[in-house]
Amino acid sequence: MTHPLATLARELAAHSVRYLLIGVSGANLYAPAGQAVFITKDFDLFLPPDPDTLVHAWTASERAALELWIGDEPLETPRDRWLAERVIAQRALVRATGASDFQVDLTWVMAGFAFEAVWQERREFMIEGVPVPAARLLHIVESKRAAGRPKDHLFLATHKDALEQLLRKPDHS
C-alpha cells in the first residue's frame, strides 16, 4: 500500500513545488528502521511564502486526492493566485486531509527560521521511490526550542535520550 505522503510528494515534484518536511514527522525520518519514532498525527510541510508555489501545492494536493481546509471550512474556490495572496497575508494554515486520517499542514512558519536558509541545507530522502526533502534534524530541534509550546517541550525532553539510545546500539556506533 502506497503511503499517502509518497503520493503527495510525487505530485508536488510534478508541479515543481519547493517544500520541506519539518516537525516531528521530519525528525522521525532520521530514525533508522525498527527504531521507535515519535507519534504525531500530522505531517508539516514548510513552504516558501510565494503565492504561485501555494497555488501549485493546492493543485498537487487535489491531484493526490486530498481535501483542502482552512480552519473548519473547505478552502474556497477558485484556488487561484488571488486567494493564495490573501492566505499568505493572513498567515493562515491550510490543511490537506485524506483517507486513513492522513493529515498534512501546509505552513509558512518554522519558528526561528526562514525558508531559504533551511532549504539550502535540506536533506533529500527517498520514500517509496519518491524524493522527499526534509529539514536538517538540527534545524527541526532548534525550531522546536524556538516555538516553545508544551508539545515542543515534551518532544525536546525525550528526543535527546532517544538519540543517545540510537547511538548506543552496536549497529550504529
Binding site: P32, A33, I39, R123, P150, H153, L163, L166, H172
Partner: protein
C-alpha cells in the same frame, strides 16, 4: 479497564504539567549528538526511508485507534 484509563489520564496530566514547566537548553553535547545522527550512513542524501516510514504510519494508526476508543468521563 477503568483502572488503565484512569492511569492513562493521570500520566497524560502529569505530562502536561511537566511540559508547562520544562525549560530546554541547547547544549554542545546535544548539538554533537544530532550531528552524529545526521552523519550516519542511513541518513545521507538519497537514503531510502520507506521502512521506518511504514512503522511510523502503523504507530499513527494504532494511536488513532486508541484515541478514538471509549473514554471515561
Amino acid at each position: 479497564m477503568a483502572d488503565e484509563l484512569e492511569r492513562a489520564d493521570r500520566l497524560f496530566e502529569e505530562a502536561q504539567a511537566f511540559a508547562r514547566t520544562y525549560r530546554f537548553e541547547m547544549t554542545d553535547e546535544y548539538r554533537a549528538l544530532i550531528e552524529r545522527v545526521e552523519a550516519m550512513p542511513q541518513n545521507q542524501p538519497g537514503a531510502d526511508k520507506s521502512g521506518p516510514w511504514r512503522g511510523s504510519a502503523a504507530d499513527h494508526r494504532a494511536f488513532v485507534d486508541a484515541s478514538s476508543g471509549p473514554r471515561r468521563m
